[in-house]
């Protein structure tokens, strides 16, 4: 009787979460998978099971150009956020000792996470344009007489915006794993004559691997699937996979958009799966 009550209790407690995820995560993803096999005439979407959407997509040079742009932007963003995030986490964990200062400095870096990403993206516009702050400054200083055009409406602007918004996703997991590294271990290594670089390379980096993996998953998943910054800041110069999918959806080419989306999702899943094999992420969760 009691166990029946408990089971009912548990059911009531977990049902809302399960229901929301089933309706708004599992169902939409299933719909995307199903629609990606629908037949598309150019105007109409006809239920069915054809591979045309996939074969059409994989036969286009355009697709590979998209993937190359996505991989390039994601890779550069990842590398910058990793180095920056690692340095910042190291600073918080090992350089700052007083807990209050640690919390204060960490919060200062984290608070923008809770403000609008759209505003932070827009806030690069007055900096990067031809008439923007950077161009005016360098012309004012006499460094050049022509405004630099690569600043706005370029991949540079897109990557800058990603680093601005996503670095915190690298900092948080790295901070978490580094804070658990036993200080005595570092001291012992130092007593044995290890140099600072050796400690970093042989102890801190290996022990930070789960944090690096989680941060990488976040940054890569966010960067590779974003189309907003690409649309607003690249001026159409960077054709990424996500932007193409968003455009196809806007043109009501649902089967093309969904097939494209499924392929992107598979690529990401293979990447995340590979990473999980290299590093045991679960111990951190």
């Amino acid at each position: 009787m009691v166990s029946l009550f408990h089971r009912f209790n548990n059911f009531v407690q977990i049902a809302p979460l399960t229901l929301v995820l089933a309706v708004f995560l599992v169902t939409p993803m299933t719909i995307i998978l199903v629609v990606s096999f629908y037949k598309f005439t150019g105007f109409l979407t006809i239920p069915g099971f054809v591979l045309e959407n996939y074969s059409r997509m994989l036969g286009q040079v355009f697709t590979y150009q998209n993937y190359w742009a996505t991989i390039r932007i994601t890779g550069i963003t990842w590398a910058i956020t990793l180095v920056l995030g690692f340095t910042l986490s190291y600073f918080f964990v090992f350089d700052i000792i007083a807990l209050r200062v640690k919390i204060l400095l960490f919060l200062l870096a984290v608070v923008p996470f809770w403000t609008s990403g759209v505003v932070r993206m827009i806030s690069w516009l007055p900096f990067l344009g031809r008439e923007g702050l950077i161009n005016r400054s360098i012309i004012g200083m006499g460094l050049t007489d022509q405004p630099l055009d690569f600043l706005l409406f370029s991949e540079f602007a897109v990557i800058l915006s990603y680093v601005h918004v996503f670095t915190l996703f690298m900092v948080a997991p790295l901070f978490n794993v580094m804070a658990r590294i036993d200080r005595d271990l570092l001291e012992a290594a130092r007593d044995q004559g290890a140099s600072g670089w050796q400690i970093l390379w042989n102890i801190i980096i290996p022990m930070s691997r789960p944090g690096i993996a989680i941060g990488t998953i976040f940054v890569v998943a966010l960067t590779a699937t974003d189309f907003t910054a690409v649309r607003v800041l690249s001026g159409g110069k960077a054709g990424t996979v996500a932007l193409t999918i968003a455009n196809q959806y806007a043109n009501v080419q649902h089967p093309f958009a969904t097939a494209n989306g499924i392929v992107l999702l598979l690529v990401l899943l293979v990447f995340v799966g590979g990473l999980m094999r290299l590093v045991d992420v679960r111990e951190q969760l």
């Binding site: 408990h6 548990n10 407690q13 977990i14 809302p16 979460l17 995820l21 708004f24 995560l25 599992v26 939409p28 993803m29 719909i31 995307i32 629609v35 920056l84 340095t87 910042l88 600073f91 090992f94 350089d95 700052i96 000792i97 007083a98 200062v101 204060l104 400095l105 200062l108 870096a109 923008p112 809770w114 403000t115 609008s116 990403g117 759209v118 505003v119 932070r120 827009i122 806030s123 690069w124 516009l125 007055p126 008439e131 702050l133 005016r136 004012g140 601005h164 200080r183 570092l186 001291e187 600072g196 699937t225 907003t228 649309r231 968003a246 959806y249 958009a257 989306g261 992107l264 995340v272």
Partner: protein, 335 residues
């Protein structure tokens, strides 16, 4: 260059120097106090480099937002970048002026209402899920994987799937149906993971103790468990509100006719960009900061009050103290 830029640079410089001093002074304290920490406080070149990186990162983080803040006070004839053509509240007024095309008022109201709904649902559902995981249940592993999948699922795919699903059912999406669901797939993983972390620190014997003293299941929940996890629930609520309030990609394809504020802002960016965009950006950022500050303050005050009122129960940050008390270790006096 304009004066305002000079002023800005001076402000940034002062803040940077202040931060540097703060870091240095705490280093000195650490050196004075630390016995075992001695190794860590050697001021190596690396330390200065990392402090520099941190300060530059903060400038990089905040400078664009500050510039937006300054440019929103652009004079009526001014443009989207410097120089400032005088100072005015013109663009703030335009935000609230219904005769302009880019009317941000209704999107703003929608965003706030939606964020409040998301906040309430996220807090309740996460709390219940936390309770369920405390006891364990069938398929708990599967649901956990779903939660993690929800966290890293490509946002616009979720949005697109919901959009197509509504279309197939012959329904129109709106900000309070499709968008609400899309937001929950983003806020719930945060909420559930936070609640799991909090419940995992909560000693199970607390409830047993309450039961031994004759409390009913409801009483032990209401008077023992709930007060202890309450600050954590505020953190979940804070995440729920801010993540929903600022969300763009999950909203973008499913808001229907009623745009939320971020969607409206992006829509205006390309075509009709005016300094009023900066004005609304400034206001929404200030609004977010107020919400964050209120959230942190609430957690802090409740934790403090809890620490004072109850001699045994600690709040989340003092969870360790609670464990000690149970094990019979000497209790620290409450502040």
């Amino acid at each position: 260059m304009s004066d305002s830029l000079g002023v800005l640079l001076v402000i940034v410089g002062i803040v940077a120097v202040g931060l540097y001093q703060l870091v240095r002074s705490q280093q000195a304290q650490g050196a004075g106090r630390a016995g075992s920490m001695k190794v860590e406080v050697r001021r190596t070149r690396g330390f200065y480099v990392r402090t520099g990186v941190y300060v530059v990162f903060l400038v990089f983080l905040y400078l664009p937002i500050l510039v937006i803040g300054i440019l929103s006070f652009q004079g009526p004839t001014g443009g989207l970048t410097f120089p400032m053509e005088g100072w005015s509240f013109h663009w703030f007024r335009e935000v609230f002026d219904p005769t302009y095309i880019g009317d941000f008022r209704m999107p703003w109201v929608r965003s706030v209402i939606l964020a409040l709904i998301v906040m309430v649902i996220t807090t309740i559902v996460s709390f219940l899920a936390g309770l369920a995981y405390r006891r364990g249940f069938r398929f708990s592993g599967l649901i956990f994987y779903l939660v993690v999948a929800s966290l890293i699922a490509p946002p616009f795919l979720v949005s697109m799937g919901i959009g197509i699903g509504f279309a197939k059912l012959g329904l129109l999406t709106s900000w309070w149906t499709g968008t609400l669901g899309a937001h929950l797939t983003w806020t719930l993983p945060f909420g559930v993971l936070i609640m799991l972390a909090i419940f995992s620190r909560l000693d199970r014997s607390i409830e047993e103790m309450a039961r031994d003293q004759g409390a009913t299941a409801w009483q032990s929940m209401r008077h023992v468990v709930l007060p202890i996890v309450f600050p954590g629930m505020i953190a979940v609520a804070l995440f729920g509100f801010t993540l929903s309030y600022d969300e763009f990609p999950r909203s973008s394809l499913v808001t229907g006719d009623g745009n939320t504020l971020p969607v409206e802002m992006v829509a205006v960016t390309g075509t009709a960009a005016r300094p009023s965009l900066y004005a609304v950006g400034t206001m929404t950022t200030v609004f977010s900061l107020v919400v964050i500050f209120a959230g942190f303050a609430a957690v802090y005050i409740i934790s403090r009050r809890r620490a004072g009122a109850l001699t045994v129960a600690g709040s989340v940050p003092e969870g360790e103290r609670y464990g000690k008390a149970l094990r019979g270790a000497p209790e620290q006096p409450a502040e």
